[in-house]
Symmetry: C2
Subunit: 178 residues, 2 copies
């Protein structure tokens, strides 16, 4: 994109500082943002029938966060989006996103590639969730996201792996003895 085009896009983005532990989206709300993370850590999660949290994703610097289905179709979301650290974000809402795409059709490609990357990470995660033992899932997780364990509470990682915090603690002890 040209300097002028980038400037136009930049002007549409809204800069936001959000303190940690802020819920940006509640289940049942319509998601009206796509947020690019300049700084901080965010997680998306569901609450299951038994009231347990299931973490879908951790997102850190240089990732986008949204419930794109809710954002796009204006349907109530079934997930929560929460800051785990103080965050600095650049956000689009449906109007500014439409304006950006109308003026800069090249962005369609950028957003498509972004969604594709997200899809392919999720496919591989689903496979591992079904096919891998809890211990191997944890090893894979720390290899893939080496900085997350220092940044988020253990019980969030347990809810990402689909195991109890106690079981995660056992796995960590077992691995530390190796």
């Amino acid at each position: 994109m040209s300097g002028e085009e980038l400037q136009y896009f930049d002007d549409l983005l809204e800069y936001k500082k959000v303190p940690k532990k802020t819920i940006l989206l509640h289940e049942g709300e319509i998601c009206n943002f796509e947020a690019y993370i300049i700084k901080g850590c965010i997680r998306t999660y569901y609450i299951d029938e038994k009231g347990m949290e299931v973490t879908l994703q951790f997102a850190v610097e240089d990732w986008w966060v949204s419930d794109i289905a809710s954002f796009h179709d204006h349907t109530p979301s079934s997930m929560f989006i929460e800051t785990l650290e103080d965050c600095e974000l650049l956000t689009l809402n449906p109007q500014t996103k439409d304006a950006a795409l109308a003026k800069l059709p090249k962005l369609e490609r950028v957003f498509r590639l972004m969604v594709q990357r997200n899809l392919s990470v999720l496919q591989s995660r689903l496979f591992k969730t079904i096919a891998t033992s809890a211990q191997d899932k944890y090893i894979d997780f720390i290899e893939r996201y080496p900085n997350i364990p220092q940044r988020v509470a253990q019980h969030y990682i347990a809810s990402y792996l689909g195991i109890s915090p106690e079981f995660l603690s056992k796995i960590r002890t077992r691995l530390s003895k190796k």
Copy 2:
């Protein structure tokens, strides 16, 4: 799109008849197609470390099938794509897809929305995989895809749900008694 644009796109698509039980993509190969299903049923699956199949997706009429990460980045795929029924497909390869996108930028949007739909189905599936009992997963599956159980073998559905065929059989028996 105008009639002329649609015609251009149509001319790029390659029509293929593929008999059932054909493996369209093997693990380790680079995926060189995106296939639109006119007729038939296809599944994508992984093979885990123990040699067990894990079904990622069933696709029927009006869906697209590909390993988009492999297709896009020209990297070896980690999945298999196999026809379960005789299929009629319309396919794009990397060259014809690039040609279509260069000539018809509006297609970027079409493909982005397609990937978004896929992502959002997969998010919800991942949540259910982690949060739901095997029996509820099966009930959800037959509600969402009422025609699939008549079309594909039980053991494929078991490998989609991440359970053994014997356990699926028990669940079906239990449900039929209700």
